[in-house]
């Protein structure tokens, strides 16, 4: 029961940090909020017996992607003071529905409390994700390599175009 309570506390913190990420005015704070959400997700992954994926999530999503976001934010031009004031008004009008929508969804879903009677496959024998990744799913690795190369080439071409102009 205590374990479930800890999970619910972490889930609640994750939802709060995600809400803060979306609601906050500053883009930099949004990026920090996203890193915080990733950190909470990491804790949940550890608790759900996925330590290797959790380490990936912490290092890549909480670290690398935050760096990418912060670099993008710092390379883009900040708005003028007048624009910021106008933008704040617009944002408030657009985003104030979100907390209400979330509270309503939470209430409806907690009252629903569906029961799932799923027919599940037998538990797997292999417990090491490294063996699964290397022996059973080598095509995934090939896909990952192709994606990484595509990303690298994409960025190189984008920056080359920008330099030429």
């Amino acid at each position: 029961m205590l374990a479930l309570n800890i999970d619910i506390v972490v889930l609640f913190l994750m939802a709060l940090s995600a809400l803060w990420t979306v609601m906050t005015r500053s883009l930099l704070r949004s990026a920090i909020g996203l890193a915080l959400t990733s950190a909470m997700l990491t804790i949940l992954m550890f608790r759900l017996h996925a330590p290797l994926a959790a380490v990936f999530e912490l290092s890549v999503c909480s670290g690398l992607i935050s760096v990418v976001f912060i670099a993008t934010i710092s390379l883009t031009q900040p708005m003028s003071q007048e624009k910021v004031l106008q933008h704040m008004k617009d944002r408030l009008e657009r985003f104030w529905y979100l907390p209400i929508l979330l509270i309503l969804t939470g209430i409806v879903l907690s009252f629903l409390n569906l029961k799932f009677n799923l027919i599940l496959p037998a538990p797997e024998i292999e417990k090491d994700p490294r063996i699964v990744l290397w022996n059973q799913r080598p095509l995934d690795l090939l896909g990952q390599i192709i994606m990484l190369l595509t990303g690298a080439f994409g960025i190189v071409i984008l920056f080359r175009e920008a330099k030429k102009k």
């Binding site: 889930l11 994750m14 939802a15 995600a18 990420t21 979306v22 883009l27 949004s30 996203l34 959400t37 990733s38 997700l41 949940l44 992954m45 017996h49 996925a50 290797l52 994926a53 990936f56 999530e57 890549v60 999503c61 690398l64 992607i65 990418v68 976001f69 993008t72 390379l75 883009t76 031009q77 657009r94 985003f95 979100l98 979330l102 969804t105 939470g106 879903l109 409390n113 569906l114 799932f116 599940l120 496959p121 538990p123 797997e124 292999e126 994700p129 063996i131 699964v132 990744l133 059973q136 995934d140 990952q144 994606m147 595509t150 990303g151 994409g154 960025i155 984008l158 920008a162 102009k165």
Partner: protein
């Protein structure tokens, strides 16, 4: 499904739906390109958590971890390329507002 997994499943599903709504709402309502990427990230996080939860419930943790690692790699590449595109658009238009992107040709 074990009793412990059953008690975990519904609260996790509730928060996954909430996380999904936050990301989707952000994606729908915002005009800022960087914030749209942040919304997309939140959506991917909801999917990641759902995958890990299903792996835990069905006792296929190893398989799901390998899938999640693949998902994280895809996520990084998508965000890096999208951030590059956002920077390129900013150099052209001097703005991150999607309403200003009216000079697309072709």
């Amino acid at each position: 499904m074990s009793a412990q997994a059953l008690t975990l499943f519904w609260p996790f599903c509730l928060f996954i739906v909430i996380l999904f709504i936050i990301g989707f709402y952000c994606l729908l309502v915002t005009f800022n390109l960087i914030r749209a990427l942040i919304g997309l990230e939140l959506l991917i996080k909801a999917v990641t958590l759902l995958l890990v939860l299903v792996g835990y419930v069905t006792r296929h943790e190893a398989l799901i971890q390998s899938l999640v690692i693949t998902l994280i790699v895809m996520e990084v590449v998508i965000i890096a390329v999208a951030a590059g595109i956002v920077l390129g658009l900013h150099q052209h238009n001097k703005s991150l507002d999607v309403r200003q992107l009216r000079n697309l040709k072709g």
